[in-house]
């Protein structure tokens, strides 16, 4: 009996507040636009039963997504931005993780804390901090003008560049930590052996260190890519009207246009796109767990 309760309480909570809402989104995405303006009709009418329920479903909203170029562009540009910023985060994060793993052992806990500390600080505030730096009169332009590198202020805020900077900045810890975990476990004598056998330092790095940190690289890349794809805060604060991201489109469809069925359809398609990377990520995690045992 106690075991039953132990399982049932969290189970039912997740069913009611995670799975059921998800089916509601699915149902509304398949509903007639005109019917679903708030306040909308009940989800399921027990009186007419399942057949009427199925007959009412229509794919109009998904059809609508294909007719308007805005949605296509938004999905594609989200994919591109997420992909490029994942690569940039990897390029920025790998040297940091590598240096942390090679640092004297007594420094490592402090370095770890310094990497994690920004993660505990509000995400919104960290994105906001860049608004003041990247604006035309901002700190970065003032600094560059002062050093004489540029003679006119650069426009960075409200462009895709600012979005990349924002994503790299806020997700950097997610990339550094798994790579650090992989590198820290690595036996350094393997590198020494490679060098003894005639590898240069660089080729030893490519042939030994990088393959051994592969799992960390994969985990970190997914941890950046998956949330970056649905990102809302960064494009709306740092990006301009030119940077389309699907999270922002969904938000505006819902809050500004108040078109709930289309917003739901946008969400369903976004989930379908995300399923592939999520499944790949879980497989990788599983493999890693098996390798650890």
């Amino acid at each position: 009996m106690r075991r039953f309760l132990l399982i049932a309480v969290p189970y039912l909570w997740l069913l009611a507040l995670f799975l059921v809402p998800f089916f509601i989104v699915l149902k509304i995405s398949l509903s007639d636009t005109a019917l679903m303006r708030p306040p909308y009709l009940p989800q399921f009418d027990w009186a007419t039963g399942i057949r009427a329920f199925v007959k009412d479903l229509d794919f109009e909203n998904f059809w609508f997504l294909t007719t308007d170029a805005l949605y296509w562009k938004a999905y594609l540009s989200s994919l591109r931005i997420a992909l490029i910023s994942t690569v940039l985060t990897l390029l920025a994060g790998y040297p940091i993780a590598y240096a942390m793993a090679r640092a004297p052992e007594e420094w490592r806990p402090t370095l770890m804390m310094l990497i994690i500390l920004p993660f505990w600080t509000s995400f919104l505030i960290r994105v906001y901090a860049w608004m003041g730096i990247l604006s035309n009169e901002g700190f970065l332009n003032q600094f560059l003008l002062w050093t004489g590198i540029i003679s006119e202020p650069l426009t960075i805020l409200n462009t895709s560049t600012a979005v990349y900077i924002g994503i790299v900045y806020t997700y950097l810890p997610f990339m550094v930590l798994p790579i650090y975990a992989a590198l820290e476990r690595m036996d350094e004598s393997l590198n020494e052996a490679a060098e003894d056998l005639g590898c240069s330092r660089l080729s030893a790095f490519w042939l030994v260190t990088v393959p051994l940190s592969r799992n960390g690289i994969i985990a970190g890349s997914f941890l950046v890519f998956i949330p970056a794809l649905g990102e809302f805060v960064i494009p709306s604060l740092l990006g301009g009207s030119g940077t389309l991201m699907i999270g922002k489109v969904l938000w505006e469809e819902f809050f500004s246009n108040r078109d709930w069925p289309v917003a739901s359809a946008v969400a369903v398609v976004l989930l379908l796109i995300l399923i592939v990377p999520i499944v790949l990520f879980q497989r990788n995690q599983q493999k890693q767990a098996e390798a650890d045992q």
Binding site: R3, L6, I7, P10, Y11, W13, L14, L15, L17, F18, L19, V20, P21, I24, V25, I28, P38, P39, Q43, A92, P95, I96, Y98, A99, R102, A103, P104, M113, L117, P118, W120, T121, S122, F123, L124, I125, R126, Y128, A129, M131, G132, I133, S135, G138, L172, V176, P227, G230, E231, V233, L237, L250, W251, F254, F255, A263, S264, L270, L274, F281
Partner: protein, 272 residues
């Protein structure tokens, strides 16, 4: 002692400069006298004073704190139960679905979670306010708690529990006297994680809050959408300060504890 190569020194310096300079600039400019955020006009604490007068922010901060305390506490209980079920529960009907539902919210985009919860609350006719935000935050943060707690449950020696049972403990007593103290650090960090996630959340709170209750991130977001403001700089500095003090204290406490454990172990070895 090993020394860092110049390359590693440069990457650490640049990396930490990149992570910390934006926040340091934010903190410095929060003490700027000028209303123009980019022009330095002398030191002043004026914006902190104005912030303390701003009722809307204070109310939102109070709502946020309430939501975070309630949702992280409920999430810790539910998440610990879920972790226990996942690690010790054995087989039960729908186990795959259950573990899927534990991991899915971690990777689900917030806009989708928020949208789906809002549609549920409207569907069942629940008025949006503090309660709906608490329900929403509990749901996603219990998943984080259960991941943290289950990683601790997996690694600890099960025979300790069995020994307690052999010595006459009931299941509940064994859990309270043996299991709980061992997983306590993970439960506490799970609570802290849930608490921070709840304080931080903008997207899900925007969907699930109504006119009667606004949280601080929602207020900050609508203020900063219009541009940088010195009041928000002051508010951000306070929040950064609280987090920094909290994290440093926590790490010092855990360091002292591990040092004490080490010296106890050494003493025990000497005694043998």
């Amino acid at each position: 002692m090993r020394r860092l190569s110049w390359f590693n020194t440069v990457s650490l310096t640049l990396g930490f400069a990149f992570l910390y300079i934006p926040m340091i600039i934010l903190v410095i400019y929060s003490f700027n006298e000028s209303k123009l955020v980019t022009v330095w006009a002398g030191f002043s604490t004026r914006w902190y004073g104005e912030l303390m007068q701003n009722e809307a922010f204070l109310n939102a901060a109070w709502v946020t704190l309430k939501v975070a305390v309630f949702s992280s506490s409920i999430a810790t209980v539910l998440g610990t139960m879920a972790a226990y079920v996942l690690v010790r529960g054995g087989r039960f009907f729908g186990r795959t679905l259950f573990s899927g539902m534990i991991y899915a919210p971690l990777v689900m985009p917030e806009v989708i979670t928020g949208l789906s919860l809002l549609l549920l609350f409207i569907g069942i006719g629940l008025d949006r306010g503090v309660l709906t935000i608490v329900l929403a935050h509990t749901t996603f943060s219990m998943c984080y708690v259960s991941v943290v707690v289950s990683s601790r449950l997996v690694t600890f020696d099960r025979s300790l529990e069995e020994a307690a049972l052999d010595l006459g403990c009931s299941q509940a007593e064994a859990f309270r006297l043996v299991t709980l103290p061992i997983i306590a650090p993970a439960v506490i960090s799970g609570w802290l994680l849930a608490f921070t996630l709840s304080l931080d959340d903008l997207v899900i709170a925007s969907f699930t809050s109504g006119p009667s209750a606004t949280t601080l991130p929602i207020k900050i977001f609508s203020a900063v959408r219009l541009g940088v403001s010195p009041e928000i700089n002051a508010l951000s500095t306070i929040l950064i300060g609280i987090v920094t003090v909290g994290v440093i204290t926590a790490s010092l406490v855990s360091k002292r504890r591990s040092l004490r454990l080490q010296s106890e172990e050494r003493a025990a070895e000497r005694a043998q």
